[in-house]
């Protein structure tokens, strides 16, 4: 992956809590075998309403989604991340996230950043007033900046390093191959194993 240090973009305010991944992309759009091609499915049901934020022409090109607490709860489908990315969303800011989504997002270079409630409310208000309201998410400095404000955030150390360096997650783990092999030699022998030819 290309190294990623920061992103600046216009805010898309999504003033809803507990947005589940079934809303982000309904399962019937998750039947592809690729990691791309999911933009059509993004918020497919909610986009049917003309006043949905993604349909607002004044906000076209917005790339920083700001949402209520517990964003992307529910299903583990990484398609939710792929769909946001395909649409052009580069960062999501919310008071809290579904755990699996947050992991998935960072693995794909989608900056899922947890911010205090009050900060998120402030950003939502600012974006409501001004569709051109800009936010910068700085992964190097671990802070979000906007005109007149800034807020530090915490992010998983490993995910951050991988993104900043553009490193491959699996390659980093495979560098610990000897340690993994040593661990495997000590596993209890009675643990179950599977095989293609097994009966029962």
């Amino acid at each position: 992956m290309e190294p990623l240090t920061e992103h600046t973009g216009r805010v898309l305010p999504l003033r809803r809590s507990d947005v589940d991944t079934d809303q982000i992309i309904p399962s019937r759009f998750c039947r592809r075998l690729t990691k791309t091609g999911y933009a059509d499915g993004l918020f497919a049901r909610w986009r049917e309403a003309d006043d949905f934020v993604l349909n607002d022409p004044a906000r076209a090109g917005g790339s920083v989604l700001v949402a209520g607490p517990n964003f992307a709860t529910g299903s583990s489908r990484e398609h939710a991340v792929w769909a946001l990315r395909d649409w052009g969303i580069a960062a999501v800011l919310a008071p809290s996230f579904g755990d699996i989504f947050r992991r998935n997002a960072l693995k794909n270079g989608l900056l899922a950043v947890q911010l205090p409630d009050a900060v998120v409310s402030g950003l939502l208000d600012a974006a409501d007033r001004d569709p051109r309201f800009l936010v910068t998410v700085d992964l190097l400095a671990c802070e979000v900046r906007w005109d007149g404000g800034r807020q530090a955030f915490e992010v998983d150390v490993r995910a951050r390093r991988l993104l900043l360096d553009g490193q491959d997650d699996i390659a980093v783990t495979l560098a610990d191959g000897d340690r993994i092999a040593a661990y495997e030699r000590g596993r209890p022998h009675w643990l179950p194993v599977f095989g293609p030819a097994r009966a029962g």
């Binding site: 809803r16 079934d22 990691k35 583990s76 992991r103 794909n108 150390v157 610990d176 179950p192 293609p196």
Partner: protein
Amino acid sequence: MSEPRTLVEKIWDAHRIPSGSDGPDLLYVDVHLVHEATSAQAFDGLRLAGRTVRRPDLTLAVEDHNVPTDSLSITDPISIEQVARLRANCAEHGIELFPHGDARQGIVHVVGPELGAIQPGMTVVCGDSHTSTHGAFGALAFGVGTSDVEHVLATQTLPMPRPRTMAVEFTGTLPPDVTAKDLMLALLAEIGANGAHGYVLEYRGAAIRGLSMESRMTLCNLSIEAGARAGMVAPDEVTFEYLATRPRRPVGKDWDEALAHWSTLCTDPGAVFDRTVTLEVGALSPVVTWGTNPGQAVPLSQAVPDPAQFTDAAERAAARRALEYMALEPGTRMRDIEVDTVFLGSCTNGRIEDLRAAAAVLRGRVLAPSVRMLVVPGSMRVRDQAEQEGLHDVFRAAGAEWRLSGCSMCLGMNADRLSGPRRCASTSNRNYEGRQGDTARTHLVSPAVAAATAVAGRLAAPADLS
């Protein structure tokens, strides 16, 4: 004496591999479950990077999410493509697969346990959020996305920060008509759909000890609906007895060794949890959902709440939205809500005990004329067992459809979808907008309530039937 530890910490410590790079430890994965809907891109990723599957012998695959439950032949072109890809990937890497049509096929979280492949103290992952189900065995089990599926295929490990721990203490005695499903819906209503965010839960208390393995699986299955990373129950005689007859259990001397180890898997007295939640269960009654997340639930005896009663602004707004989607008025008695569809199945409530509970209600009764009921066993083994017990005759005589195994109407990915604004009482785990069909409305219920509802044509408990 070493420090007292929680069950989670014991499993964590036994699977932790310190990483040579900065960042979190690696967690070794004992069993990796794979299915057709979230694995294709992971296998592609391996291939692109010139990598292979490190431990095909610790990997088991099934076809469940997008297979038909009305026919042994798959006709949907996308489904055909998905299963063909999984079959090719499994063949290429030497992975054991239970394909659609196999006597052992079923929902991934039903199949693993019934094989005896999920054992106390293990780590289990799967590209599916309800992997938490397997915590019922005292295993640390959690769902992951496709990138992590690829990571596990390639390395058999996951880099993971140590999770926070939460004790969920159920005090009191569970009333006879209250099931594990009701228990969890009550907990979710109490702490909210995000109330256990990021924690690994350990369910504790005498009420848990009295639960069967099937019920414990229902309990742990729903952990994810509280935002938890995983949920677990310490193993005991009930666990060991369940495992003792399973095909993939350790045998002979191995069984004795395993059993000795399993018996150490409990939270030590004096061990400290990061948080504790207590729920008194003695006064519980059947619980059903009224909204669009599993925490929006009330006892069946109550009414649809008034959003104005919620003090939290976000909750109030969510309740308003939910009622609009569900087409419900505040104050409507839950028992007055009419349904046209009943779904009995899923990894939450598709096991033999669930089918027995529903059949016990349906025996000698027929469905309300306006109701369609789908009975979808969680696995083909469950289906066989049910047929040996004659349960299929009960369902059919009542007018319900007796189907093959799969995820079916739990997620609306396959052909079993509701079209139009249908209202469904469902034993599954998610009542999200559009989950069972674009405009479908879902009420989560226990199997007994599902069966009674099918007869009454409106939300009902068995005791409501004459």
